[in-house]
């Protein structure tokens, strides 16, 4: 039996504080080697104005309006709080009227990212099945949940449009224990007769796309499946309807073993340090990014900004856990959903690691088994 369940207690769900922090003093972005900066130093930038084109074609837009200052590879925009949008009034009334090619053109021109590539390339790669996973990937992450709840009909309509235009089979993955989402889906699903809802249990990491595929959808070729979550679907909606990108998103901040959860709507490019200070003051001495069991621990949030990859931050009062010698108890192997023996350096399956972190969770020696450095050999 897996030791972790994604079933939050009533008190945990009731304690969630949904808030917004959309007027930061400044936002900043970093241009990497090979990226091209599209604005000049000291220029005025509008909301949604193109700032950087990454070497892989992904485009970065400003999430606020104000004056930009460029220092080396770092772009800092000082917020004038005017939200002057460069793309205002450019929207279509009904997204169903847009053809597939126009839709792709819009997504392509906006350079929206999907995992590490371009969304337009993925959409155009002959997918046959669309899996819309409503669940957040990691424990104590509610970013997708609240994005979906806020924009429920828009997101479902977008999925339906994609189904129709790209001729896809659609499966909606819902956590059976999330009553609010389950009820909402049940109340509208009759309007979308060609979408099939699959309810899955609460065992972590059953919500991972790879596990969903392995357990429920392995009749299809994995490469032919397009996995979408509420955030990326809402980005597609924004692209189709407004020919624009998202300037803000939800980030989950939590501490105190899950008793103090904040789901904050925040502008892209906002400093995580500012965000943590906004929620918890100067509390915390180490910070866990995304999955707590994966143990991506940072001592300082100074250089971290809100982007698509950071969904949650756990603010810990403790110093990083102390590792001790492996006792070869085999618990990590027992709980691994992919059947990997993390302490065996020659395990043939180790490339299939989901990095869910269950091995770290059960390890009595507190060894970080995910990182290669921590792998016991």
């Amino acid at each position: 039996m897996l030791p972790v369940r994604i079933k939050y207690s009533k008190s945990e769900l009731e304690s969630i504080k949904v808030d917004s922090f959309v007027s930061p003093v400044k936002v900043s972005y970093v241009a990497m080697d090979g990226d091209s900066i599209q604005v000049k130093n000291e220029a005025y930038v509008f909301l949604n104005q193109l700032l950087i084109v990454r070497s892989n074609g992904i485009k970065v837009y400003s999430s606020i309006s104000g004056k930009v200052s460029i220092k080396g590879n770092n772009l800092v925009i000082l917020n004038d709080n005017k939200e002057n949008n460069i793309r205002k009034d450019k929207y279509i009334k009904n997204i169903r009227t847009l053809s597939k090619d126009k839709m792709l053109d819009r997504i392509k021109s906006l350079g929206i990212s999907y995992q590490d590539g371009l969304l337009s390339n993925v959409l155009d790669s002959g997918k046959e099945v669309l899996v819309f996973n409503t669940m957040d990937m990691e424990l104590y992450q509610f970013s997708n949940r609240y994005t979906l709840l806020d924009n429920f009909i828009d997101i479902l309509n977008t999925i339906d449009v994609l189904r129709k235009e790209f001729d896809l089979l659609v499966y909606i993955i819902v956590n059976y224990d999330d009553i609010e989402i389950r009820n909402k889906i049940a109340s509208v699903i009759r309007d979308y007769p060609l979408m099939e809802v699959k309810y899955i249990g609460s065992d972590f990491p059953d919500n991972y796309n790879t596990v969903i595929y392995k357990k429920y959808l392995n009749i299809y070729d994995f490469d032919k499946i397009l996995f979408l979550d509420p955030l990326i679907t809402y980005k597609i909606y924004m692209a189709i309807k407004y020919n624009s990108v998202l300037s803000e998103r939800y980030v989950t901040l939590w501490s105190n073993e899950g008793k103090n959860i904040n789901v904050i709507k925040v502008k892209y490019g906002t400093s995580l340090k500012t965000l943590v200070e906004y929620c918890y003051g100067n509390k915390g001495c180490s910070y866990y990014l995304n999955n707590i069991y994966r143990r991506v621990v940072v001592k300082s949030l100074d250089y971290l900004r809100v982007n698509d990859k950071i969904n949650s931050v756990y603010v810990s009062d403790m110093e990083a856990t102390r590792e001790s010698k492996c006792i070869n108890c085999g618990k990590c192997y027992k709980v691994c959903p992919m059947g990997i023996d993390p302490v065996d350096p020659l395990d043939k399956l180790k490339d299939e690691c989901l990095k869910c972190g269950l091995c770290n969770y059960v390890c009595p020696s507190n060894i970080n088994l995910i990182s290669m450095e921590g792998r016991v050999e």
Binding site: S316, N328, K331, L346, Y361, N366
Partner: protein, 296 residues
């Protein structure tokens, strides 16, 4: 939901292991101490040594670990010392030694094995027992009888209880009780003792069928050799046993077959430890070769 970070998981495992040994501690002090007092062969105060020796062994173990990690390895904190399984191993070493063995010899061999175990990953308890057996045999003092035992004629029930001439912890009944306690330890590899015993019984019954041994001899051999204690504690030590089910089956089959042959055919009980030691040595060797030559 469980706590996310717990630095004391191994301490808890250790405590459960030590707790599971409590029935055996009480039994051994009853058998070797209290019963000797009843027989008028031992002073009441002296009989308490069987209760105090386990505590002494645990203290010595922590001292050894402290010296190794803090003094030799220069660790900054006591994490490795506190989370060490060595006290448990050393307590097992104490229970596989005879009741009349000198505690100083036991501690000396423990120190030696402790040093060896830091260099080679071989079964700690098996190595201890082989060394103890060799040294005592060389000096001609290998004897498992306690102070009042003269006859080796015991009923099957007494042998099952562990009241025969045998090592300190060799009680089938109390080993089974300890096994039940260990079932509550989620880090204990409970399937290994079961698989070894099943394999052992199958081979032994085969020997009974082919008239190599009698059925009663088979039972006496199980009770007398401390097989259940060894299988429950020594064979299932996590550090020296495999994790994958297939490897566990292979491990259990090899041990079960060899145990049965050594115990029933040759009546050479130390062969059990030689098998365990041999397996862990070969396993470590293979692991070392793999690591050295196959891991990029």
């Amino acid at each position: 939901m469980k706590k996310f970070f717990d630095n004391n998981k191994i301490v808890n495992i250790n405590l459960l292991y030590l707790l599971s040994l409590l029935p055996i501690v009480i039994f051994s002090s009853y058998k070797n101490g209290l019963m000797a007092v009843n027989e008028g062969k031992m002073d009441v105060l002296l009989s308490f040594k069987y209760l105090s020796y386990p505590i002494l062994i645990i203290l010595v173990s922590y001292l050894l670990e402290y010296i190794y990690f803090r003094v030799i390895k220069m660790d900054e904190d006591n994490n490795n010392v506190v989370n060490s399984l060595v006290p448990f191993f050393n307590l097992l070493c104490y229970f596989v030694s005879g009741p009349s063995d000198n505690i100083l010899i036991i501690i000396s061999i423990i120190i030696l094995v402790h040093l060896v175990s830091k260099v080679i990953n071989v079964n700690y308890v098996a190595l201890f027992k082989i060394m103890l057996f060799s040294i005592l045999t060389i000096y001609g003092v290998y004897n498992n009888a306690n102070i009042y035992q003269v006859s080796n004629q015991y009923s099957n029930f007494k042998l099952f209880m562990g009241l025969g001439i045998c090592e300190m912890g060799y009680s089938t009944l109390f080993s089974i009780i300890s096994f039940i306690i260990l079932l509550f330890n989620e880090y204990y590899k409970k399937d290994i003792p079961i698989m070894i015993m099943v394999c052992y019984m199958v081979v032994s019954l085969g020997l009974v069928l082919f008239n190599v041994i009698g059925f009663n001899d088979m039972l006496v051999n199980i009770f007398n050799s401390g097989l259940v204690f060894i299988v429950v504690y020594v064979c299932s030590i996590s550090l020296y046993s495999p994790n994958k089910f297939r490897n566990k089956v292979i491990y259990s089959c090899i041990l079960g077959i060899f145990f049965s042959i050594f115990v029933n055919v040759f009546e050479f009980n130390i062969g059990i430890y030689i098998t365990i030691f041999g397996y862990s040595f070969i396993y470590s060797l293979i692991k070392f070769i793999k690591k050295k030559f196959l891991v990029k």
